[in-house]
Symmetry: C2
Subunit: 335 residues, 2 copies
DNA sequence: CTGTTAGCGCCTTCAA
DNA sequence: TTGAAGGCGCTAACAG
């Protein structure tokens, strides 16, 4: 069996190829009788229009480029799930770009994305900086290809449609809960590398700490478990710093901290109360279970795709910053 | 700035479009001087060939379809990382299909994949059954599009190139280690739903148990933490079944079991020795750290992509089953 | 080494 | 409601 083309269908159905094209793309413009006959032949031949020819002729690809830093991050993977399900609704295909490769500059990759003829771009990279933001904005303007940022914040500007949660508020709220619980020595555990998203969590933490007249303590460490374990051991060993509350910017960092403290004889949550961020599977697989901010990553992905589709269709999204609701989940590390 | 075409480049460089095409695809066939001039114009105009036109004319897409069941599974995500890095080496793009959507039959999706003109298909779905296998094989034959299975086993046939580890051997080895350690009541924790890959782990377990003259105990449970926790509590509560060794088909199931047992007052590894499967991040984030079979998922992804590329280039892979080496990592749950 | 030309498979006016 | 015809941007013989 060789791949059927529109000609094969037209011939077998006794119509011109234009009619076949119409029954597929503008069925209302074809007489019902003809349409049914054509559809039947399409079915018989297992015909599917060649995506390239279609894209070339129509200048639309029904394809969206998804740019991610690293698939193995739980939040990224889950967002992609959300994107995939939503994209299906519109019959859109996903073309995936993983930035993990050091050999490729992001500028080079974006040129490729443009060449791929994607109708839109979904960008999810919480480490975005000014240069990257401007580059994306330039692409959007030069090539008229809509871009939506998913869980990617650049709060200094609002040229690109963005879907996320209010990280500042979440950081503030988690810290407040610790304060209201009577905790006095509250630490924030964040990444050594500065990310926009984590900076916001930190700012929220600082606001709450300041309001309460407490001293702020920010620990910048690695996301790598073996590294941060050593770090936590140094900082908080039995005889060490006083600490009775912690907000970590990632679940995995929170869990690693909890493990280290328990090994040092501290009681969780009695001695130290801990909040993580994201509500990944790690949060449920640790002992005690981790309390954390629940970031609806699946919804963020889906919403981002929905907005992108809207932009592609020419209906501009008025609201550039789209903030989704978050919850704080209380589990074993805080009560 | 509007997107530049090959004509713009040809005009500005004072050559024909064929020459531009050549400097891009067969540079050795163009005089160096001309080539440099063309390249310069390409650079200036930021020209990138339209992927659709190129694909249509050349009947090759430089694109590979990646089919996954669910991105949020750690092993899947990591395999995709491996695929992405390897694909970059060949300048191949990835088009992603997530089977998560219940509304879409797999047959329908495969038709879409074919229509997408992908040069090859990478299929990663450890739950594959006979129907699916035959469907894939038919696609490969009918449309002459190579397919490689990554971490996806269908051992009853060998028409499709497959990359995986020896799950039977791994299951056998883990069980043997427990036996050699003197454990007598060794359980296998597996999924209720039967997967090929898990069946093999189970078969390896059974072989070792039989050789040692012990009694086999297979518990089929859910991958869902909240469900299997209840299940483990019922089965193994303090007064309950005797158990001193466990091999679980997934890290997450192993960790959930460990947590449940510790809450019931059992000592790990003294009372019960536990092995997981995969070496995901969960294995390092739990307390005690999980001993497990290390499945090199990143390598599996990369290797699968490499073989696919080879098939696409017409160099058939002789060896259909390609088994990668695995290790067993000893951590806190066994020593 | 370079230019000319004929498609690749489909969409989309424009006529009929 | 349908068909004819001209591209979409590029590759790949074939000439020169």
């Amino acid at each position: 069996m060789v791949k059927a083309t529109i000609y094969n269908v037209a011939l077998k159905a006794g119509v011109s190829l234009a009619t076949v094209s119409r029954t597929l793309n503008n069925p209302e413009k074809v007489k019902q009788e003809t349409r049914e006959r054509v559809l039947k032949v399409i079915e018989e031949l297992g015909y599917k229009p060649n995506a390239f020819a279609k894209g070339l002729a129509s200048r639309k690809s029904t394809t969206v480029a998804v740019i991610v830093p690293d698939m193995s991050r739980a939040s990224i993977a889950e967002m992609v799930n959300g994107v995939a399900v939503e994209a299906r609704k519109y019959q859109y295909s996903l073309i995936l770009y993983v930035l993990k490769d050091e050999n490729l500059s992001e500028a080079e990759m974006l040129k490729e994305v443009v060449a791929s003829q994607a109708d839109g771009i979904l960008y999810m990279n919480d480490e975005i900086n000014e240069d990257q933001y401007e580059m994306l904005n330039k692409i959007q303007e030069d090539y008229k290809v809509p871009i939506v940022l998913a869980n990617t914040l650049y709060p200094y500007d609002n040229k690109l449609v963005t879907v996320c949660i209010d990280y500042f508020k979440a950081g503030y709220e988690a810290t407040r809960r610790l304060i209201d619980d009577g905790r006095k020595h509250i630490f924030m555990l964040t990444t050594a590398r500065k990310y926009m998203v984590n900076d916001l969590k930190e700012a929220g933490y600082l606001k709450a700490i300041k309001e309460a007249g407490l001293e702020n303590n920010i620990v910048r460490t690695s996301g790598d478990i073996s590294v941060n374990t050593v770090h936590f051991n140094e900082l908080f060993k039995e005889s060490g710093k006083r600490v009775d509350g912690v907000v970590a910017v990632r679940d995995s960092i929170a869990v690693s901290f909890v493990n280290t403290m328990i090994k040092n004889g501290r009681k969780i949550p009695k001695d130290i109360s801990v909040y993580g961020f994201q509500n990944t599977k790690y949060a449920s697989l640790c002992r005690p279970k981790l309390s954390c901010v629940d970031v609806p990553v699946l919804d963020i992905g889906a919403k981002a795709m929905a907005y992108l589709k809207q932009e592609i269709d020419g209906n501009h999204v008025e609201q550039k910053f789209n903030v989704l609701h978050h919850d704080i989940i209380e589990r074993g590390t805080t009560k």
